[in-house]
Symmetry: C2
Subunit: 232 residues, 2 copies
DNA sequence: CTCGGTTGGAACGGCACCGTCTCAACGCTG
DNA sequence: CAGCGTTGAGACGGTGCCGTTCCAACCGAG
């Protein structure tokens, strides 16, 4: 291509300090007003730069947020590997706890997750970021526990992941009440026991005659009294 | 007061059909763009009415959303009471599953929860709505299980609630992958076993120091220690 | 039947943001 | 050290929303 031209240099190169200021500003705005209300102007104002500084780097609000989110995920998360499922879990829970205790993360993560529900690009980026991080730390921990024989090879890993992070995420990001001392160790212990249970492997409740709980006629079938019309 | 005047009547009374149209429009907008981007004009346009129709009823976007959310929570949730902790849990999980499968709820709930993290009014309303609904269904189920002797009276009910709804919420609202058949029964079984574990009662991992649970009054005051946005 | 009082709808000025464009300042490359 | 090429900053027209004001239509109380 046209590389006979001389390479940009001097003042003609993106200033890293301004890029960092913008990244920080985006995170703060994201925490304060959320993705929905995030505006380029506010970000630029907060960073103390012009809007051009933003548009030269990213070109759109979505691209900007996507890039910054991807970068954040590169945070190398220390991977617990103690040789014991229980200890690995406790460390993992401590890590998650620390991350979600962070003021910015505690606001931004749920916001982006909610936004991901309606913006496929964000959903994809978040997924990619989390996976790329460590190919899902929980999966690794489970895999090693299976290799050691601590867990059945037939365990439903998806459900296992839900069990591992679901309760703590709910507590930290939704319920948002303080953790009593001893909460994390107890959660780790209970979760470990639950994972070890033979109930976690698929072919358990299928002896011969299935249909144990067809469709739960015990409760109303489909939230009929919903005030909102289903069809648009 | 001045009731000598004649009461409003005829065309001088709020039309219920327009109110319902507005409610539906708010829910749809909430699902499509979220609370952050929600605008009065779009709501009115979607409902096919003028903005005045909105401002006469609510006066502000926050008040509008708050009122509608409160009303939705009045949905009488069927309260499982089978006499067995496991069956109660399975039914509860089925209910949560049905609610969060609903297209609108699946989008609106996480969005509002994220918004609640930065708007105390929304947080308070959501809390009140959920509590008022059934004074926390999970708490009731736990209480009855304790009365029946299925659970230890010393169980950490907060952690128990996290264990009950955390995994399913994570799966439905965050992970958003399909539930394999048998997921709910298995989750109910595993959770029941975990709750029954002696690990769920406080004085387990404290051989030397008792640490007699200081912050455990009969009723939580109001979770006042809110992490108000401190200095950036 | 009359008309009071409120309704829904539209128009209005103000404001924030969008995305583009112009322009002086700048510092390294050659 | 000269100047190239990009930089950051501000200005600009356009758009969408806010919250208010104005007005004709309307229906039932009296």
């Amino acid at each position: 291509m046209t590389q006979n031209k001389r390479a940009p240099a001097g003042a003609a190169v993106l200033r890293g300090d301004i890029t960092s200021a913008l990244r920080a500003a985006v995170m703060q705005e994201l925490a304060e007003v959320g993705y929905g209300r995030l505006s380029i102007e506010r970000v630029a104002r907060r960073a103390g730069v012009g809007k051009t500084a933003v548009y030269r780097r990213w070109g759109s609000k979505l691209a900007m947020v996507l890039d910054i989110v991807s970068e954040l995920a590169v945070h190398k998360m220390p991977l617990p590997d103690t040789g014991s499922l229980h200890d690995d879990l406790e460390i993992l829970l401590q890590i998650v706890n620390q991350v979600l205790q962070h003021r910015l993360a505690a606001q931004v993560v749920p916001d982006l997750l909610a936004e991901a529900a309606r913006n496929p690009q964000i959903a994809e980026t978040l997924q990619a970021a989390l996976r790329a991080n460590q190919r899902n730390v929980a999966d690794l921990i489970l895999g090693r526990a299976i290799e050691r024989g601590e867990l059945s090879p037939g365990i439903d890993t998806d459900a296992a992941v839900d069990l591992i992070i679901g309760p703590l995420y709910w507590r930290l990001a939704i319920s948002r009440t303080r953790l009593p001392s001893g909460y994390l160790p107890r959660l780790a212990a209970v979760t470990t026991a639950a994972l070890r249970s033979e109930l976690m492997s698929p072919p358990v409740p299928k002896p011969a005659a299935p249909a144990p709980k067809p469709a739960a006629p015990v409760v109303a079938p489909a939230t009929p009294a919903d005030g909102a019309p289903v069809t648009a």
